[in-house]
């Protein structure tokens, strides 16, 4: 079957979709957006979290056909989504537009991959959402496989609760498993992003 949806502000179309395919599979394998991760495919880890019509969901549990006509934001579009939210002040605006095209992690990309020098360490020259920047700086990223889903969930938390308590953070992220960090640096990252946001708001 054919499925049409808007991903990161861009209309996308997928053909020959098998009816049992998940939104996660379509994003990863048909739309060149492998940022959402396939860690458990049973809604028990949150690595595939995307926003479906603004709401965080496990994309592995959304049948591709159910996404027909819907708007999806993935980690690849998170920076742009956050930028538009900051500019427009419209929290939870339906969808974002004009996002950087999702480049497939093709073999070429894999061959080209290099750990970059000092520039990329701090994210200079690359536009990141505040929560993405905070994850890097706080040491919340190790293997990084849980990171995309955590970022989508954490960004949504801060959108609605700019000043969360530790228990609020833990509850909001309780659907996202991380196996590397023990979560403490993830807590630090969300606290950091929240603190910066309130500083920014106060200024």
């Amino acid at each position: 079957m054919r499925v049409n949806l808007t991903v990161n502000g861009r209309p996308q179309e997928a053909d020959d979709v098998w009816e049992g395919e998940s939104l996660l599979y379509v994003l990863r394998e048909r739309m060149g957006l492998p940022g959402s991760k396939n860690a458990c495919e049973q809604g028990e880890c949150g690595s595939c979290t995307v926003r479906l019509d603004c709401v965080p969901v496990c994309s592995c549990l959304v049948a591709a056909g159910q996404a027909e006509g819907r708007e999806v934001v993935t980690v690849e579009g998170l920076a742009e989504y956050a930028r538009q939210r900051a500019e427009g002040g419209a929290t939870g605006a339906r969808g974002a537009t004009g996002v950087r095209g999702g480049e497939s992690a093709s073999l070429d990309a894999a061959r080209r991959w290099q750990a970059r020098g000092t520039d990329s360490q701090t994210g200079e020259n690359i536009e990141l959402a505040p929560v993405q920047q905070a994850f890097i700086e706080a040491g919340a990223v190790q293997c990084g496989f849980c990171t995309p889903g955590l970022l989508v969930a954490a960004d949504e938390l801060l959108e609605h609760h700019p000043d969360p308590t530790d228990e609020d953070i833990r509850e909001a992220l309780s659907g996202n498993l991380c196996r590397c960090t023990g979560y403490e640096k993830i807590m630090d990252a969300v606290r950091l992003a929240a603190a910066r946001r309130s500083e920014g708001a106060g200024a």
Partner: protein
Amino acid sequence: MDFLRPASWEEALAAKAEHPTAVPIAGGTDVMVEINFDHRRPEYLMDLNRVADLTEWEVGEDFVRLGASVPYTRIMEDLRTELPGLALASHTVASPQIRNRGGVGGNLGTASPAGDAHPALLAAGAEVEAESVRGTRRIPIDAFYTGVKRNALAPDELIRAVHVRKADGPQQFSKVGTRNAMVIAVCAFGLAVHPDTRTVRTGIGSAAPTPIRATAAEEFLNAALEEGGFWDNGKVVTPSAVKRFADLCAAACDPIDDVRGTAAYRRHAVGVMARRTLTWTWESYRGARRTTEGAA
């Protein structure tokens, strides 16, 4: 596999009549796991997300008519007053992401004894609104669960809504799992105090082939409360009555040993939860009574 996308409730009923094997999918929590892990290959998958009124609810005089697909997040945030037990239960469902998608219709359709909504529905009192092209009927919740993962729906029927009795007194819900979040119930317990009818109702999950009520425990407690004049005098229920109630709740269980827990533990835990939830709700009832009397 065919993917059916009815745009309205009527279309959905027609499709279900035409393809009784069609598997309805809304939140996807159960169905997609089975598909992803190759446990199920339904001939037809029927998406109910397009049927808008399934995600709506109406608060009536005595009942809340809760659309089958109202997400758990909405129940826990917007229906805490009307459906406190179900709201508490909703808060224990899986993860925030799942609560954003899943609804009570899925729990009822799957009818797993571990479904989190069941004990709360049993305790509150509810009727399932089932419909087919042949017509609509309301199935009392007590008659809905017919076996392990089996329910009273006919092959051509779909769940449109569940009518849950509005709370007229305190309600509680507890669930035991071996993790502090995102966990399937080892066992669960719901309790609702109904001052209007001077009854207490219960619901037990994951401790029998189907969700059940602890009927003998309810009868004992209702009699004890009546005899002792507790509804009127607002006294603390005697520890021996609480213990007897808890023991009868444990005795109502017919659990199994499985990978999530032992039968003996389930029975034990149901007893503890029965005692605690009765204590919490009764304290709350007494507190509310005092407030009312103080105001009078």
